[in-house]
């Protein structure tokens, strides 16, 4: 079971070259197959995830959650997706049509791109970039653009406020997010994901870098626009923020992209702080799924418990607390490494 996916990929390449294809072409086809697999997994996973969040929030609130369609209501999301697909696609007349229409696509494309570098098992990265972590952070920060496009293109004051909030919020939280990961990078000495996972074979980085983990967790929640930092959406204040004017599948694409981001960031958290795919007995790809889902449940619990933080508090929390703390963490890590090296480790 362990190498099921890796062996399948090898067999596919071997079969294609056996047909007389040049190795370069075979690799390209493999890449396309992997891409399609990622997209299918992402979409299937999200249908499960939305169901799970509704179920978990139901349990938190002493309700049952969806339970009408399929076993435990599991097909509810599919029914919702069908409903959204059949809805009328409304583009309000005063919008900036081009921007309005492309924003959801930009958002979903960016979020799917994040999966390229995540190791989904032993040797199961699509591309093992030598700047993997850097790639993840830089692509992740692009999603601000999509929200700004949605907010501006909708030509609605609520949407504009939502879009502007998302820009301010995501730019400020980008910094502590990157800084908190820097501590891990200093210990491993590499930005390559497989190196980071390999470095945790003895001890998880959550033990070595607890401060970095907490700052990463908080800023990741803010990056994902999840409660208590769901400023761009903020239902009770901005009606639906940047998504106010969207209907049907366009709106669903935003929703999809948000969850795609959520899974990606949780998977990265599992990779960087919780030993990635490493674990006993079970196959490696199962381990990363288990770890990711546990982290996702923590995200759910937090979202459904806390009230929303205020915008200016949010900004000052980032600039006055998280950034100094994550900088101090870098200093501490550097000093620790220096001391340990002198002691001859």
């Amino acid at each position: 079971m362990e190498h099921f996916f890796v062996n399948t990929a090898h067999a596919l390449v071997a079969w294609l070259t056996g047909l007389g294809l040049a190795p370069g072409w075979a690799d390209l086809i493999l890449l396309v197959v992997q891409w399609i697999a990622v997209i299918i997994i992402v979409i299937l996973n999200i249908t499960v995830l939305i169901w799970l969040e509704r179920k978990v929030s139901g349990f938190i609130q002493q309700r049952l959650g969806p339970n009408r369609l399929g076993p435990f209501g599991m097909f509810q999301t599919i029914a919702d997706a069908i409903k959204l697909l059949t809805k009328e696609d409304i583009v309000p007349s005063q919008t900036d049509r081009m921007i309005f229409k492309t924003a959801p696509m930009v958002f979903i494309i960016i979020s799917v791109m994040l999966y390229v570098v995540i190791p989904m098992g032993d040797g199961m990265e699509i591309v093992d970039l030598n700047v993997g972590l850097f790639y993840f952070i830089s692509i992740g920060s692009l999603s601000t653009i999509a929200l700004l496009m949605a907010g501006w293109g909708s030509n609605n004051k609520w949407s504009l406020l939502g879009g502007m909030r998302s820009v301010a919020q995501m730019i400020s939280y980008e910094i502590p997010l990157a800084f908190s990961l820097l501590g891990v990078v200093m210990i491993t000495g590499s930005l390559r994901m497989s190196d980071i996972v390999a470095a945790q074979s003895n001890i998880w980085f959550v033990v070595l870098q607890p401060i970095a983990f907490i700052t990463y967790f908080i800023s990741a929640t803010a990056e994902l626009n999840r409660g208590p930092f769901d400023m761009p959406e903020a239902e009770q204040e901005l009606t639906s923020g940047a998504y106010t004017e969207y209907t049907g599948m366009r709106w669903a694409l935003f929703f999809l992209a948000e969850y795609t981001n959520l899974v990606a960031v949780s998977a990265l958290m599992a990779t960087v702080f919780f030993g990635g795919w490493q674990g006993p007995w079970l196959p490696s790809w199962l381990w990363i799924i288990i770890k990711t889902y546990l982290i996702l449940n923590v995200f759910f619990l937090i979202k459904w418990t806390f009230p929303r933080i205020r915008m200016d508090h949010l900004m000052s929390f980032s600039w006055k607390f998280l950034i100094p703390v994550s900088l101090a963490n870098i200093l501490l890590t550097g000093a620790g490494i220096e001391v340990l090296m002198r002691m001859g480790w």
Partner: protein, 224 residues
């Protein structure tokens, strides 16, 4: 310390996550209702003495009744009783003020209906009680019924002509007859109206004809 409040909050929600849910699965699991629950208003037709206490006390004009006076005993007899439930505020005044205790709320709360007509509830005097009435009223009622059945028969036979006469416009009569051909209920209603109140029948038939002409302009032309 800053943050302990947050952790306690998480503890509360986490605790409740693993508790039993408290919601009822409604259509499968019906709620247990207390004895005084106010659901659907019911009338015991036999006991009603048509004193009109309920209609007078009702704040919203939900209740209305028709009665006839029996000259021999000088007592009122209830002919029909209607409850227009869409305006009811469930204040219980009618039940409290009824001297014969013949009004009561039952425990049925599933009162949603697709159109307003179905919300209104009309009690007609039941057949076995009709004999109870003074003779001349019974006779008049029988005569009326006969006229109505004759009218329905005539309408079924030659609707365009009768309706054309009613509307004083043959074209319209034809359109309406075509529209009503498939709707026996409406046809019967118009027949009743024509017997009881010809002016009202004219109005209703006119409105229906206009609507039919609007809805199916082509069909109307074909008939014409």
């Amino acid at each position: 310390m800053y943050g302990t409040g947050l952790l306690k909050g998480l503890g509360i929600t986490l605790k409740h996550t693993f508790e039993r849910e408290i919601t009822q699965q409604y259509p499968e699991q019906m709620p247990v209702l207390p004895a005084r629950f106010r659901g659907n208003l019911q009338l015991d037709f036999q006991d009603c003495i048509a004193c009109e206490m309920c209609t007078k006390v009702c704040p919203n004009g939900v209740l209305s009744l028709e009665s006839v006076r029996d000259d021999k005993t000088n007592k009122k007899k209830l002919m029909s009783y209607s409850i227009d439930f869409q305006y009811c505020m469930y204040c219980n005044f009618c039940v409290e003020n009824c001297p014969k205790h013949c009004l009561h709320f039952d425990h049925n709360f599933e009162l949603a209906a697709y159109d307003r007509e179905n919300i209104k509830k009309v009690y007609q005097r039941p057949q076995e009680l009709v004999t109870d009435l003074p003779e001349e009223i019974v006779a008049a009622e029988e005569k009326n019924q006969k006229r109505i059945s004759v009218m329905i028969g005539a309408l079924q036979k030659d609707a365009p002509k009768i309706l054309g006469k009613l509307l004083e416009d043959e074209e319209k009569g034809k359109v309406l007859a075509a529209a009503l051909a498939s709707d026996q209920d409406k046809l019967e209603k118009i027949a009743v109206m024509m017997v009881e109140d010809i002016e009202k029948a004219k109005k209703v038939a006119g409105a229906l004809a206009n609507k039919a002409a609007k809805d199916h302009p082509k069909e109307g032309n074909v008939v014409a």
